[in-house]
């Protein structure tokens, strides 16, 4: 296994597999997000119920949040392998070309050339995103544990948060348009008759992901989705004080 990791071909395959894990998670994440499009609901927002379900999934067989933490550990592991592999490959690739002689661009795509840049920016975005919605450490807008719908609503009332999230989606789209097709090539899962379909398939998946992710913040910002029920908040508060 160590030998596999040491070779450039093997290392790139590790990067491809971990990339595939991250893409798989993105698809689930997007589907989960779409729960917020059901609005604040009569008594509980559907996305709040969904967030609760993610935490209690598997109970009483498994302790609370087990599945959630398994997913988090797998994702973190995949991300570390993905970044370590790429960092080492980039170093090798730079050494393989003499300094000051970048190869002329003949036909390579902008996405493929920007992979490193989009990757670094995405890492920064992921850290920001976790601080905002997982650890709830950014207090520009009111955030509260468990009140997912309300948190989302207030964040996406600000135009600059909307801009950050939409910009991140452009980066995701660019990174994956090359990445998804590329991983099939790297793992040798392509074949000549399938290659064109894989390229179009990658583009189609990217379009679905960007629209799926992008719709939620836009719906909040344009007030298509109703504000969270302050009533529900008030009852919780009154419960605390009595």
């Amino acid at each position: 296994m160590l030998e596999y990791w040491r070779s450039t071909v093997g290392k790139k395959q590790f990067v491809a597999v971990t990339g595939a894990i991250l893409v798989g998670y993105l698809i689930l994440h997007m589907l989960g997000n779409l729960n917020s499009a059901f609005g604040p609901g009569a008594d509980e927002a559907r996305v709040d119920w969904y967030a609760h379900w993610l935490r209690t999934f598997g109970e009483p067989l498994l302790p609370r949040e087990t599945i959630l933490w398994v997913v988090r550990v797998v994702l973190l592991g995949a991300l570390i392998v993905h970044i370590t592999g790429i960092a080492q490959l980039v170093k090798r690739n730079r050494e393989a070309r003499p300094a000051n002689f970048p190869a002329k661009r003949i036909g390579r795509s902008v996405e493929s050339m920007a992979m490193l840049g989009t990757g670094i920016l995405l890492l920064a975005f992921i850290i920001f995103h976790i601080l905002q919605f997982t650890t709830l450490s950014i207090h520009v807008t009111p955030v509260e544990e468990g009140a997912v719908y309300a948190n989302l609503y207030w964040v996406f009332q600000k135009w600059y948060f909307l801009a950050i999230y939409l910009a991140a989606l452009v980066l995701v789209g660019m990174h994956l348009r090359h990445g998804i097709w590329s991983l099939f090539q790297t793992l040798g899962l392509d074949n000549p008759s399938r290659n064109q379909k894989l390229r179009h398939g990658a583009t189609a998946l990217v379009v679905i992901l960007v629209i799926g992710f992008g719709s939620v913040p836009v719906l909040f910002f344009t007030d298509v989705l109703d504000p969270p029920r302050e009533v529900a908040l008030a009852t919780i508060l009154s419960g605390v004080f009595t």
Binding site: E3, Y4, R6, S7, T8, V9, G10, K11, K12, Q13, L89, R92, N93, R94, E95, A96, R97, P98, F101, P102, A103, K104, R105, I106, G107, R108, S109, S112, M113, M115, H178, W181, S182, F184, Q185, T186, L187, G188, L189, D190, N191, P192, N195
Partner: protein
């Protein structure tokens, strides 16, 4: 036709640490049907008459089949036409234009002199697995090893590689994946290549790494300059063969033998 040439000069023999530089030459009255190598020949003849050092460059067959010529013309390996340098003709350029001529650029291809580079690294990759074991002796029965036409075509599409190294020079990562992929595809799809199927791909990949070639990031530039138009499908094949060779479970007897 008249041209201004910016030609790379390096290592005239006086300085081991020579970093190289471009020198400008003017050539006049060039036949449009002369190849770029013949144009360089004319320039060299003039330099000889002027008692100046000739421009060193590689060439051999001059009919596009040997893979010896290796010029980067205006930034593109082998020039604008996706043919070998020797098949690039002056009619492909505009009269009076400036043409930049450089050697193939890769850390694995050290410059020998001017436009000539040492592509021995590719030979060593071949030595690491680009061969088959075969018994010599009487000619075998022609039908002893049936090869389906589709397989034969696939093998020939890869075997057409002339080993010029333009793929390495075009790659922003200086990778030799197209070259190695072509050789692995050629031999691994044919029955004659089966005995070394796994050791071939593993050996060649290890040698690529040892030589210092970069890795593939699927830019596809290699295929766009390849004079033989080899597709990056051969890289997919290389990746597949490597993955299979590395993840295949060894039979217990083989494990026991290797530990002895």
């Amino acid at each position: 036709m008249n041209f201004t040439l910016e030609i790379w000069r390096q290592f005239d023999g006086s300085d081991e640490e020579d970093k190289g530089r471009f020198e400008t030459f003017k050539v006049t009255d060039i036949d449009p049907d002369a190849s770029i190598l013949e144009m360089l020949d004319q320039l060299n003849e003039r330099l000889s008459r002027e008692k100046k050092r000739n421009i060193a460059f590689d060439s051999d067959c001059r009919e596009g089949i040997c893979g010896t010529c290796a010029l980067v013309i205006d930034g593109t390996p082998h020039g604008p036409q996706q043919v070998t340098s020797c098949q690039t003709y002056m009619r492909d350029f505009i009269d009076g234009q400036t043409i930049t001529i450089e050697p193939f650029r890769a850390s694995t291809f050290p410059v020998v002199r001017d436009l000539a580079v040492d592509r021995g690294a590719l030979d060593r990759v071949i030595q690491a697995g680009g061969y088959i074991s075969t018994t010599t002796g009487p000619q075998p029965d022609p039908n002893a090893m049936p090869v389906a036409p589709e397989v034969q075509e696939k093998a020939m599409d890869a075997a057409i590689c002339i080993g010029c190294g333009a793929c390495v020079a075009a790659c922003p990562n200086g990778a030799a994946m197209l070259f190695t992929g072509a050789k692995v595809t050629h031999l691994n799809v044919l029955p004659q290549g089966q005995p070394e199927r796994e050791s071939r791909v593993v050996g060649m990949v290890e040698q690529m790494d040892a030589e210092g070639f970069g890795g593939c990031t699927n830019y596809g530039e290699c295929s766009r300059v390849c004079p033989q138009e080899i597709s990056i499908d051969v890289i997919g094949m290389l990746n597949r063969e490597y993955r299979k060779a590395k993840t295949k479970r060894k039979p217990k007897t083989e494990k026991a033998m290797s530990t002895q």
